[in-house]
Symmetry: C2
Subunit: 268 residues, 2 copies
């Protein structure tokens, strides 16, 4: 596990926006940390980026942040804008909304704004993403595949992600969309990768030591194939079902922590 | 694991009835085994027991069985019928259809027909059950609980089952209805119990040595909490999410085998 520098808040989608706002308040707290916060919302993934941007802007203002900006990236050209780069560089918290994770990577990947993001991340600026914004954070991301399906290679489509967190693959809306099959399929392809399934209204906060903490009302499912003794992945024909034995699975609710480097729950 | 005597064919529901009929043919083969087969269909769980009984009757006749009988048990009184007892005692294969597993246990449990079933089972007569008929086979059965939900105690309802196979709990329509959460919740309550999630058009054949073999187009998920190092089950308040660490999970497709006594895949 590479050392990671920043704080990542990776949200399984459908986070509470009206009642306790536990997860969004955590983001605001991390963006503040004793200074005047500047939150930048990236609705890049969203189809209706204006209304989604406005919605989150209103929420963060309600939560007491004065300086909230929506940064629209609707084309690769936008990713070359000097103004946009400066906006990212001045942010103390960056929030990716849901939508389509391929919009994030295809529009931003390799642009100067992408480099500004990586720089901000290394400085320790908190970067949050919900739903598609969560999926995009890993080096390889899941972009499609049926939920409620048995593990099969056909049900899974993957693509290069933003690479903010490596050696994991993240799935979101996890229990709610029955995505165990596709997460196991991803892990079986390379059991060195940890599969992290995040439920709705639930998030993981990943710190610079690669420890994660669960926040929110549901659970996080961690699938570890590291000690798996058998899989048939490399021999599978299309439509054939997957075999994999001896995976280790952890179910972690709010407050529980997990050490990504050593692949185990933190129980102190 | 208690010694089990018979052959159980436990089907995750929606088994193929039109193309290869892999699972239903396996049942027919086991009911035949070198003798004239007599198949008894138990549509006890079904709301429309007449039409369901007729459907399976037609299928088994198409598969070459001449002696097929539908045994209707619509009240507890029916479970005391001498004719019904004799029908079960003469069967070489007994098939429980889907429907509501509580209908099976509440109508049959403790009746003379139930005892006839147990006797047939000990003689080695194959007993098959699909969907509700599968769920009812374990000593404790799942009767309700949302699919596509995070593991929580609230999502699970259990009841005493038929007890044909012990120390396991069976869930069906497993991947298709996203039932990992509820199966894990069941296992967490007593990690000595093995959780067996059977997908649609997939079955396990459990033999007298308590070895199972997977048959069908999808997979079987086995959840083993035996070596789990931590769970919060006993402290949970309603609506709180479950924690459980270090479960072992196996995904097994067609042809794979598992040793229920020793809790491991058979890899010879």
């Amino acid at each position: 596990m590479e050392k990671i520098e920043g704080n990542l808040l990776i949200i399984g989608g459908a986070e509470d926006k009206e009642k306790g706002c536990t997860i969004l308040k955590e983001f605001v707290k991390l963006a503040e940390e004793g200074r005047e916060a500047k939150i930048v919302i990236m609705p890049t993934a969203a189809e209706k980026s204006d209304s989604v941007g406005r919605m989150y802007s209103d929420i963060f203002k309600d939560l007491g942040i004065r300086d909230v900006e929506v940064l629209k990236i609707d084309s690769r050209a936008d990713g070359f804008s000097k103004v946009a780069q400066r906006t990212i560089e001045e942010a103390t918290g960056i929030f990716f909304t849901g939508g389509d994770q391929l919009k994030i990577t295809s529009l931003l990947g390799g642009t100067p704004v992408d480099f500004s993001l990586q720089k901000a991340y290394k400085k320790g600026v908190v970067i949050a993403g919900t739903s598609a914004g969560a999926a995009a954070m890993s080096a390889t991301m899941i972009i499609g595949g049926n939920g409620d399906s048995t593990p099969q290679m056909d049900i899974l489509n993957m693509a290069p992600g933003m690479g903010l967190v490596n050696q994991v693959v993240i799935d979101q809306h996890f229990a709610q969309r029955g995505r165990l099959g596709r997460l196991i399929s991803a892990v079986a392809q390379n059991p060195y990768i940890l599969g992290i399934g995040i439920d709705e209204d639930t998030a993981i906060l990943v710190d610079a030591q690669a420890n994660l903490k669960v926040i929110g009302s549901q659970t996080v499912t961690i699938v570890d194939g590291f000690n798996s003794t058998y899989t048939n992945v490399s021999e599978l024909k299309p439509k054939q079902a997957l075999a994999i034995t001896d995976m280790v699975v952890h179910i972690l609710p709010h407050g529980y922590r997990f050490d990504l480097k050593n692949r185990k729950p933190i129980t102190d």
